[in-house]
Symmetry: C2
Subunit: 216 residues, 2 copies
DNA sequence: CTCTAACAATACGCACACGTATGGTTCAAG
DNA sequence: CTTGAACCATACGTGTGCGTATTGTTAGAG
């Protein structure tokens, strides 16, 4: 374990961050197992000897990378959409932000895939819960009861996560351009009911047993 | 490569399937990388020598496991819900089936996580597309236009996939018992509009700009 | 100029998994 | 009883990644 002096802390932190960044990049493309010291060192143009000065173990690097990730996925994201106080707009922004960065989506899925690892699970849970709680608060501000708000937040979050997966696994099934915007509008208008009755349920007849079309 | 005689084919196929089953189980719990010959052999009470008689390589085992998986996830599943000719009920059944087996969900996510592997990607694409196409047909039978049916199928499939992920990553966020049924009903009633207008869009005012409650 | 902290290269031991080679066991056919 | 196929064990070589130890190299403080 190095004992960094105050003078050199800036440079040391910078290179440690470089390692963590490279680790995140490796996760995004090759999954958690791609965080291997020797390949990363090769990619960074150094050898293991450098790595084990900055970190004590591979696990420490993973923690550092996950710290970086958690920060970028909660603090940074939410800070960017917080200014809007309108809950409707906030939810819409979450959706648009979510579908904006392809890399962030891949990263999320790759990290979540390592949920058997207890440390990773810890981070994934925190990030997921933060996002779902954020959505729940939006729905509550929209006038939903606590219970309904949780349901809708879970629903919306699931849809969001599933879209990430579809885009990764079957990109051809995800439209682009105008058709994608149409798809996005459909999801937004469906997932954000705009009138709420006194009992905390949406107003338009979602649960009315009004049989489908086609078989009158 | 062995040249099995007709007499012993039954036993040989049986043990080859045992290997493939064990491989699937390994994927479900430890991901694709857990499909390692030597650990699997230990778990099956044999050694590598046995494995390399049945298969030529680790990749061949993965293919066999994925064959098994593809069959269980498309043919078997769809056969079980096909009897119902009512498209509404078919979609509902897809949702209920999807949320029924925890193991199948984990398996799906674990396999999908290895989409960088070209062979795996091939299987994942086929299974995903088969399911989405099935849903699309249901929506079309419900009276939707081709374009709208695709949108709704993608939407429903994304929600379904996301719920798998939520249940895996943050099980506490997924309710159980009566509350889960409530959640399920919410998703079903939201994702299956029951009246379709002539232009192929749902009838109730999804896209009417009828501002939300709370800020009159 | 010297010394020391920060940083990096090299070399080593270890563990584990892939794949191969080869020998051992069982069983049924001839 | 012999033979050969089916099936499995053992042993080996190779690659690769982790972690450690040891030895440079560089730059700034004194």
């Amino acid at each position: 374990m190095p004992a960094p002096s105050a003078a050199s802390e800036a440079r040391q932190n910078l290179t440690a961050n470089a390692w963590a960044d490279a680790a995140l990049e490796a996760i995004a493309t090759g999954g958690l197992d791609a965080v291997a010291v020797e390949p990363l060192a090769r990619k960074l143009g150094v050898t293991k000897g450098s790595f084990y000065w900055h970190f004590n173990s591979r696990g420490e690097l993973i923690r550092a990378a996950l710290d970086l990730w958690e920060k970028s996925e909660t603090v940074d994201i939410l800070a960017r959409i917080e200014p809007t106080s309108d809950p409707y707009e906030r939810i819409v922004n979450v959706f648009k932000q979510a579908n904006a960065s392809y890399r962030a989506g891949r990263l999320y899925l790759a990290i979540a895939a390592g949920e058997d690892h207890p440390v990773v699970n810890e981070y994934v849970r925190r990030v997921s819960e933060a996002r779902m709680n954020y959505l729940r608060d939006c729905y509550r501000d929209l006038g939903f009861s606590e219970s309904q708000a949780r349901h809708w937040a879970r629903f919306a979050y699931a849809t969001f996560m599933g879209n990430l997966q579809i885009r990764r696994d079957t990109p051809d099934a995800m439209p682009q351009g105008a058709e994608f915007n149409e798809y996005l509008r459909l999801m937004i208008t469906t997932l954000i009911p705009r009138e709420v009755a006194a009992d905390g349920a949406p107003e338009h007849p979602h649960v009315v047993p009004m049989r489908r079309a086609g078989t009158p």
